[in-house]
């Protein structure tokens, strides 16, 4: 009788042993059963005409009146096209061509009366008459009768302007329009009062400067209080894309993630923190073709092989939301992403030197694409600061001395892996007014000259003779990362060579912006990315009336400069405009409110199957021009991603053999116990 419980124990032990032995096998089985491949997409998708790209952050909105950042740009612009679009291939200068527009808008002087400081003033403004194409349709959507997208008319353009002016819609660029389109600020005021009372804005209220043609539903007029040639560029931004009132009324705030547009693509799927899938829009206009001409070198680069083909060339775009750069880089190397950027994380693997791709990348057929930005980064002085601001000779020389001590190349090497051009003026390459031969006298790194200027400013060796103390320059920043601290140390060292102590004052970005708003800063580092490729979009940062919350962050004000700015802003690009721009540049260079650092650049890596890739820093509607050689992609993906089972088998075998001695011990102990008990029973 005593043996029975032991027999039970034996079976328990045996079953545990079996379990122990079976566990790795089970794991292997699960591994194999689960398909065991590293393809991150549903089966067959890699072989379809789909572009695979990544999005580095969660999109905030796809609402064309609100979305502004670089993350959402490619999605919004693929869904919401505009009156104008940028020529896909032409650069320097960038060329606008008709998109939804049928003809170039007609511009004419327009006499008007505006209220300035409570007084009525007669002015000569401008009228722009726009004619849109006939037969354009919105995408199919349940907001339309029978779910079929209706025809687009001029009223849909006017509606999008009214929506921008809706106080409940935080449109980031409304200030570009509100002080220029007649009656728009009045419309905003009336609706602000309604919104304050928790009522919806009244879109039926007219705006004097937005007029529909009662006889022609495809024509509308914009009346401006001043000539504003930059309106052309704004008519190429998704904010002015036609909007269907049916969609806004049906979806309300949900329009943010339920876009209803008329572009080459429609949103087919959005999984927050997962993916965004765009599919070709069957209602997209049939007269959009791949360009037949381009910039010099485009034909040789194979960028004109699809000339004349109807757009879009691909059927789907899949954005995978991947926050971690290392993850995206690995997927690119496996061929599951069609394009990747060169970053600090992958520079060592991707590049041999700052201009050449690594042999490993070359072997895979990956090519390098230089991506110019229309952007400038700079240090700014607070021009209202009693020590570092001001316009006296002494104050100017002090700033000029600091400017001469800052070495742009060292900053570019540290911050941007050596990518970027040292900047001499505010206008970057590719924009009218950029002068390659110009050398800013205060941006040629020269410590001796800087020290001399410091003496002339009355601060020899950076010492204030009145107090006997070192000059202190408070550097306000939002750098909290290790890289940010390295950057601060570099600036402290560079300016420190003059004997000036740079004190870092770090906050989070919103806190930093608060400081800028309230003028509570001395010195800061910032950048500006152009909204449109016109010099006005850069030189306006020194225009006195544009001080915060406008783009003139350091409150620079020089009446001579302001007068020249007012003269040039509405001029066409010609020799006279260029002359004025040069004069403005010289004024600012002498006043030295900024230390120009660089015109940033970046590199992209592109797989061999990805065709027609040419980055454009001002346009976002690029996906329709891309072409994918799906057969090549599928072949290379299969070749690069064959699983290697040998290590798994070896590990499982090691586990089994490694556990054998333990199993034997268990058996031995149990047998010993059974024997002992049996002997005891006998």
């Amino acid at each position: 009788m005593e043996i029975l419980p032991d027999m039970d124990n034996l079976s328990v032990t045996r079953s545990r042993t079996r379990l122990l032995r079976a566990a790795p096998l089970c794991l292997l089985a699960v591994l194999l059963l689960s398909g065991c491949n590293n393809d991150p997409y549903p089966a067959g998708e890699s072989a379809s005409s789909t572009l695979f790209v990544t999005m580095g952050a969660e999109p905030k909105t796809f609402d064309p009146s609100i979305g502004y950042d670089a993350t959402v740009g490619p999605v919004i612009d693929a869904i919401y096209p505009d009156y104008f679009q940028y020529h896909y291939l032409k650069r320097d200068p960038f060329v606008l061509q008709l998109g939804l527009g049928a003809t170039d808008p007609e511009r004419a002087p327009y006499p008007c009366t505006v209220t300035v400081n409570g007084k009525k003033v007669r002015k000569t403004g401008e009228s722009w008459t726009f004619h849109i194409k006939h037969g354009l349709r919105f995408q199919d959507d349940p907001c339309f009768p029978n779910g079929k997208g209706r025809e687009i008319i001029a009223a849909d353009f006017v509606y999008s302007f009214k929506r921008m002016a809706d106080p409940a819609v935080p449109c980031p660029v409304v200030s570009y329009f509100s002080d220029k389109i007649l009656g728009m600020s009045h419309y905003q005021d009336v609706n602000s009062a309604l919104v304050a009372k928790k009522q919806p804005a009244d879109y039926s209220l007219p705006i004097e400067g937005l007029q529909l043609d009662p006889k022609d539903p495809y024509t509308f007029r914009i009346l401006l209080s001043d000539p504003y040639p930059q309106l052309r560029y704004l008519m190429a931004m998704h904010f002015t894309s036609p909007l269907a009132h049916e969609a806004v009324e049906k979806y309300g705030k949900d329009l943010a993630f339920h876009p209803v547009g008329c572009g080459p693509f429609v949103l087919a799927e959005y999984v927050p923190r997962g993916r965004i899938v765009l599919k070709a829009n069957p209602n997209y206009r049939k007269d959009d073709f791949y360009p037949s001409d381009g910039a010099p070198g485009d034909r040789e680069a194979g960028l004109l092989e699809d000339a004349g083909k109807q757009l879009p060339l691909i059927k789907e775009v899949r954005f995978t939301i991947i926050r971690e750069g290392i993850t995206a880089w690995n997927q690119f190397q496996q061929g599951y992403l069609d394009v990747a950027g060169v970053t600090q994380d992958n520079f060592q693997q991707a590049m041999s030197n700052p201009t050449e791709i690594s042999p490993d990348m070359k072997r895979k057929g990956i090519r390098l694409s230089k991506q110019p930005h229309i952007e400038i980064s700079y240090f700014g002085f607070n021009m209202t600061d009693p020590l570092w601001g001001g316009y006296s000779e002494k104050q100017r020389k002090l700033r000029q001395a600091v400017s001469l001590a800052v070495d742009s190349q060292e900053i570019i090497d540290l911050e941007s892996l050596g990518l970027g051009e040292p900047a001499d003026s505010v206008i970057p390459p590719g924009i009218f007014g950029f002068d390659k031969s110009y050398k800013n006298p205060y941006r040629q790194f020269n410590i001796e000259k800087a020290k001399q200027l410091l003496v002339e400013a009355g601060y020899p060796n950076g010492i204030d003779p009145q107090t006997g103390d070192r000059l202190v320059l408070n550097y306000d920043n939002y750098a909290t990362s290790a890289a940010g601290r390295q950057f601060i140390a570099l600036i402290q060292r560079q300016i420190g060579k003059l004997g000036i102590h740079v004190e870092s004052r770090s906050t989070l970005l919103p806190g930093f912006q608060d400081k800028l708003d309230h003028g509570q800063f001395q010195f800061f580092y910032y950048g500006w990315i152009a909204d449109y490729p016109d010099p006005e979009n850069f030189v306006f940062m020194f225009y006195g009336p544009n001080k915060r919350p406008g783009p003139n962050a350091n409150a620079y004000a020089n009446p001579k400069y302001d007068a020249l700015f007012e003269q040039m802003r509405a001029m066409p690009d010609n020799a006279q405009r260029l002359k004025i721009i040069d004069q403005m540049r010289d004024i600012v260079v002498e006043d030295c409110p900024w230390i120009y650092v660089d015109y940033p650049e970046s590199f992209g890596l592109v797989h061999s199957w990805f065709h027609n890739y040419k980055p454009n820093p001002v346009a976002n509607d690029m996906a329709k021009y891309y072409r994918i050689d799906t057969a090549e992609r599928a072949r290379k993906q299969a070749e690069w991603n064959r699983p290697n089972y040998i290590p798994a088998v070896v590990v499982v075998a090691l586990l089994i053999f490694g556990s054998l001695p333990a199993v034997n011990v268990v058996k031995e102990r149990t047998n010993r116990h059974v024997r002992r008990n049996s002997e005891g029973a006998r």
């Binding site: 590293n38 923190r273 997962g274 919103p510 806190g511 699983p643 333990a662 268990v666 116990h673 005891g680």
Partner: protein, 313 residues
């Protein structure tokens, strides 16, 4: 038991209010309503008018006590409201995102528990032998490695070099398993060091008890002692450390979800903190607190079920 549960639920209310108050204070200590507005507006330099309008629309223009009361009222009634960043319904998003989080965390939790107990049992069974020593060394080693290193190493070895799994991504339906296996393995292995050490201690503590000595004296085999008696008695401390975490499986892991691109609640909270979306942060903290409280109630109930000596009154 019912009275006990009701009492515990009532105790939960001041805890929930306290946690929410703390979140509220901490949030406002790091951000003013202006900075929240600025962060959530897309303009490069929003005007004062735009900032004020945004604050008014989202209720951040009211005095702080009034804001707290109105937030608290909504939370207590499980009305989480809309996200500050994009106006999305928070509860709707929590419901959708909870499943991927739960799938990864559930598999990782149970597989981790199973493997940890099995290994702890093996170590206890072979205590004092080389297997025990090496096992201890290995668990301490596993315990010393930072979590993110596991993620990068597993992604590198299993997904990049050996190509068994996708490096990141997620698909719903049957395909989901392919995507969650790698994060599950990472979590299991990363948790193994701590788990095995802890469970081994629980088991050895029991093995020193009088009842084990008595059983040995009566001639009960080691295996029977370990599996029939020790394991049952060690269940109470094991339950204490595990059951309370079950409800938290819904909230997911911020780091793993971020690296593996799992569209779960961990990722949701991470984004909300990054974009200073106070509405989502306070809702998620509240939701998390609710789950913790639920977890402790569950632990108490499981005591009563496993240990006949425990009575919930």
């Amino acid at each position: 038991m019912l009275t006990y549960i009701i009492r515990r639920v009532l105790y939960a209310i001041p805890i929930l209010i306290g946690v929410s108050l703390l979140t509220f204070i901490l949030f406002y200590a790091s951000a003013t309503p202006d900075t929240i507005a600025r962060r959530n507006l897309s303009a490069k330099n929003p005007t004062r008018k735009q900032l004020d309008q945004w604050k008014q629309q989202h209720g951040y223009d009211k005095p702080l006590p009034q804001q707290f009361v109105s937030h608290m009222k909504g939370l207590l009634l499980l009305r989480f409201g809309n996200s500050d960043a994009n106006g999305e319904d928070i509860w709707g998003r929590i419901r959708v995102s909870a499943f991927p989080s739960f799938l990864v965390a559930f598999l990782a939790f149970f597989l981790g528990l199973l493997v940890s107990i099995v290994l702890a049992l093996a170590q206890a069974y072979f205590r004092g032998t080389y297997l025990d020593y090496y096992g201890t060394f290995l668990t301490v080693l596993l315990l010393s490695i930072v979590y993110v290193v596991y993620i990068i190493a597993f992604q590198f070895i299993l997904a990049k070099i050996l190509k068994y799994f996708p490096i990141a991504g997620y698909q719903s339906g049957r395909d989901a398993l392919r995507f969650v296996l790698l994060p599950v393995m990472v979590q299991v292995v990363a948790g193994l060091g701590g788990g095995v050490r802890q469970f081994r201690t629980f088991l050895l503590e029991q093995m020193g008890q009088d009842y084990v000595r008595t059983a040995r004296a009566k001639g009960v085999s080691e295996s029977a002692i370990l599996f029939k008696h020790v394991l049952k008695n060690a269940a109470i401390p094991i339950l204490t450390v595990t059951v309370a975490t079950i409800p938290l499986l819904f909230t997911g892991s911020i780091l793993a979800e971020s690296f593996f691109g799992i569209p779960g609640l961990g990722n949701y909270l991470f984004d909300a903190i990054g974009s200073q979306d106070f509405a989502v942060v306070r809702a998620m903290v509240y939701f998390g607190t609710l789950l913790v409280i639920f977890g402790y109630i569950l632990t108490d109930i499981s005591y009563a079920l496993f240990d006949p000596r425990v009575r919930l009154e």
